[in-house]
């Protein structure tokens, strides 16, 4: 492993430095049929789950085959994607905003050979490399985060639970039988990097124990006022502690006010809170971002806690599968998960999904909490 320079000279770091050039320009990468017909598309159709056609004013067509991707992927796999794109698509490929991969061809005759090629590709362990689906009224890819692969603040993993849940709902990745599309997302802590607060179903990593205090190091590692200001419930105050006869500046956490959000740890490395038994998953439901029929909605907390069950998180996967089945059976056509729950009433939602309603689900955060209680006599028994 001998060091190989790129040409960068550490003696003169600012020499020859190129900055502020931004990303490459989008149109360098368009397939010819896209470049030619941009802005002139007439209509589209889903030919089968995972396969779309777009027709342009010119009569040109582009066929798109959408495949699931694990998001976390190796260059080996990207090179395989390149090989497929070279073979079938003139060297073009794209990714979606839900991290699926799309291969595009400009003629119907090229679709089946592409589908056959993709269907034959599997990993050594047996899973599909490029399962086709993710379109229409089904369950598409799960938008997710770093988890134990790379982040320091997670309360659960990301890649593992996503794989477990996608295995459980896989049939619906390849089907159009839902009343409307179902968006599932995951964040491994409540920073919610991604789409957890606005998804039909959301998986959220959650702690249940206040932070530990590394008093000996705290003042050296952290800017104490920042840690104090980081707390949504003002549970932290400055404190002086004595350790080994030494007076130290530190903080005190009022455990009664702490709801384990972990934001103080984000700000201060001396306040870790991860815990094997304490940490787990909260399930939320009913969010959406589109403006179709109803306005965008936040997802609501419907399951207060499921333990982390590595490696396959069976309770989480089953709970989600069950919610999707009940929704599929009960909701009307075009009705998103949240629209359905609001129409039947949340009391009926808990009833139908056989989910426990515990005190944890009642909002108690500041003034707006009041507006989530029920100020009417209208309710169902």
């Amino acid at each position: 492993m001998a060091f190989v320079s790129s040409g960068y000279n550490p003696e003169k770091p600012m020499e020859n430095r190129i900055t502020d050039i931004g990303p490459r320009k989008y149109d360098e990468f368009y397939p010819p049929v896209i470049a030619k017909n941009k802005g002139k598309w007439l209509y589209h159709e889903y030919l089968q789950p995972g396969v779309l056609v777009h027709v342009a004013e010119s009569g040109d067509e582009v066929y798109t085959v959408r495949c699931g991707g694990a998001r976390l992927m190796s260059t080996g796999l990207i090179r395989e994607i390149c090989e497929i794109a070279d073979k079938h698509c003139g060297g073009h490929v794209r990714w979606t905003t839900r991290n699926n991969v799309e291969f595009m061809v400009d003629d119907k005759s090229k679709v089946q050979p592409l589908l056959d090629d993709l269907a034959g590709r599997k990993f050594a362990g047996g899973s599909f490399k490029f399962p086709v689906g993710g379109t229409g009224a089904g369950v598409s890819n799960i938008v997710h985060t770093q988890g134990w692969i790379h982040c320091h603040t997670p309360a659960t993993d990301a890649s593992g639970p996503v794989k477990a849940v996608m295995d459980e709902v896989f049939a619906d990745f390849q089907n159009h039988r839902m009343p409307a599309h179902v968006r599932v997302s995951l964040a491994c802590c409540l920073n919610m990097c991604g789409a957890v607060h606005c998804s039909d179903i959301a998986i959220l990593g959650y702690h249940r124990k206040p932070p530990m205090l590394d008093h000996e190091y705290l003042d050296k590692m952290c800017e104490i006022p920042l840690a104090i200001a980081s707390c949504p419930t003002a549970a932290i105050k400055p404190a002086k502690v004595e350790i080994g006869g030494q007076k130290l500046n530190s903080v005190a956490v009022n455990n009664d006010r702490c709801m384990y959000c972990g934001n103080c740890y984000t700000m201060c490395p001396s306040m870790p809170l991860a815990d094997t038994e304490g940490d787990g998953i909260v399930i939320m439901a009913g969010g959406k971002v589109s403006n179709r029929i109803t306005a965008p909605k936040f997802s609501k907390v419907v399951v207060a806690f499921i333990p982390n069950e590595a490696p396959r998180w069976p309770t989480t996967a089953k709970t989600i599968k069950n919610m999707i089945e009940v929704y599929a059976a009960d909701a009307r056509k075009y009705e998103r998960f949240g629209e359905w729950a609001e129409r039947i009433g949340w009391e009926r939602f808990f009833d139908k999904c056989k989910l426990d309603f515990s005190h944890h689900l009642i909002d108690d955060f500041r003034d707006p909490a009041y507006y989530t209680w029920r100020q009417t006599t209208q309710f169902k028994f």
Binding site: G69, A70, I78, G136, H150, V289
Partner: protein, 438 residues
């Protein structure tokens, strides 16, 4: 032979969904064999150790990454997320495991030439593991050592004309929906506006100068395929001002069953014959549609452009011709004082290059205000809550508009500006007492 036993991760190799474990294992093996004879600049067994540390996390139910890590490249204040393993003796391959954010092209279209060049750099100078893509949009290079950061950056900029993305308290990497490139609903060129603003504000992106992070996202229509309304501090959502275009023949083709509703999105189940009354007219949120004999009518003045009817009958109904976009501000995740979605601040603005009005009349005034008034780590949405929507209206220099609220206030705690009230606030109690005895 794998370096570490991974009995728990092995269980994630079964099942139909693409297994990241199988992919990582294949990559570990590929590096060990090194058939291409790559001169690896970070430990060969980096992927083995990543699997090892992940297995340990599965056993403990806790992360094994140390807090934070401040690394980067000269000239920039962000773009790299430093990360160090908290068990470096056991997993030396990931003792350093920094992430580099690489600015992605609009719509995430690629050529294989480009992707292979990216892979060549990353195979040699990094782990060969990526995220395609981060939720903000970047290509994520997952795992390298500190000495390689400048080398990767040099190769990206010199050999690929390619920059890093954003991180820290600055403008993060903007992202867009596929827009006009392959969608008939797109009301403006999302890729062009995204690219233009990304280039215009490179300095704000690479050198943190803000109270906190700030994100742009661009949706071509209110379907919001890049979720700008929930995931960006300034959300640009395409819309139109004139009438929805109706092709009555195609309407009949839907009614007659020749065309599948919603382009076939519900083909997996028998929902019965398409019923335009039930599926479109009765679902319109403003009840502004009706059938006049065999003709579909829309009272466009009452339409809120929710997209439902167009989504159900894409071949019969099309967006209008007088196009532009709405701007919503303040979306954020829950920390600190609760999640927010974007609030409408500009109902309609033209979206034609060079986008001068958008830059000079919206983005820059908002930044000037927030950079001056925003508290440390206060998102735009939180400043809006603290100082009020009225302040945004002042900053933009526009008139208050009922479109900016869902409903008027129901508490009467109303502030007046002194100059709005006759006689002002300066009053003399003695004058009052002349008429009102104590």
């Amino acid at each position: 032979m794998a370096k570490h036993e991974t009995p728990m991760l092995d269980q994630l190799e079964s099942g139909p969904w693409p297994s990241f474990v199988s992919d990582l294992k294949a990559q570990a093996e590929k590096r060990a064999k090194n058939e291409e004879g790559i001169n690896f600049q970070i430990p060969v067994d980096v992927v083995d150790d990543l699997l090892g540390v992940l297995e340990l996390s599965y056993k403990h139910g806790r992360t094994h990454w140390k807090h934070g890590g401040i690394v980067g490249v000269f000239g920039y204040g962000g773009g790299v997320i430093g990360r160090y393993c908290d068990q470096p003796q056991q997993f030396p391959g990931v003792a350093h495991f920094h992430t580099m954010r690489v600015a992605q092209p609009g719509g995430k279209f690629y050529t294989t030439d480009y992707l292979r060049q990216i892979c060549d750099i990353w195979d040699m100078r990094g782990s060969g593991i990526t995220n395609m893509h981060g939720s903000t949009g970047d290509i994520i290079f997952l795992g390298t050592t500190t000495p390689q950061l400048e080398e990767v950056f040099f190769e990206l900029t010199h050999n690929m004309n390619q920059d890093l993305g954003g991180s820290g308290s600055n403008l993060r990497t903007p992202a867009d929906c596929i827009g006009q490139a392959r969608c008939e609903y797109a009301c403006y060129d999302t890729q062009d506006l995204c690219y233009d603003l990304t280039q215009e504000y490179q300095d704000e992106l690479h050198r943190p100068a803000f109270p906190y992070k700030f994100k742009f996202k661009f949706d071509g229509c209110p379907n919001c395929c890049v979720a700008s309304i929930a995931r960006s501090d300034l959300s640009f959502i395409g819309t139109w001002k004139d009438d929805i275009k109706i092709d009555q023949e195609a309407v009949q083709a839907y009614i007659g069953g020749e065309l599948p509703p919603n382009a076939g999105a519900h083909s997996g189940r028998d929902w019965g014959k398409f019923d335009i009354q039930k599926e479109v007219i009765d679902r319109c949120p403003t009840e502004c549609m009706w059938m006049d004999g065999k003709t579909l009518k829309i009272d466009n003045r009452e339409c809120t452009r929710c997209m439902h009817c167009i989504n159900v009958m894409p071949r019969a109904l099309r967006i209008g011709d007088e196009r532009g976009l709405s701007i919503l501000a303040g979306a954020k995740a829950p920390i600190l004082d609760g999640a927010q979605m974007g609030t409408l601040i500009v109902p309609f603005i033209e979206a034609e290059a060079p986008y001068t009005k958008i830059k000079e009349e919206v983005i820059e005034p908002i930044w000037d205000w927030w950079m001056e008034e925003g508290k440390n780590r206060e998102r735009l949405g939180e400043l809006m809550k603290r100082q009020g929507l009225q302040r945004v209206i002042e900053v933009l220099g526009v008139d208050p508009d009922p479109r900016m609220v869902q409903e008027p206030r129901h508490n009467p705690y109303i502030f007046w500006k002194e100059e709005e009230v006759e006689g002002g606030f300066d009053r003399d109690i003695n004058e009052f007492r002349k008429y009102h005895q104590r």
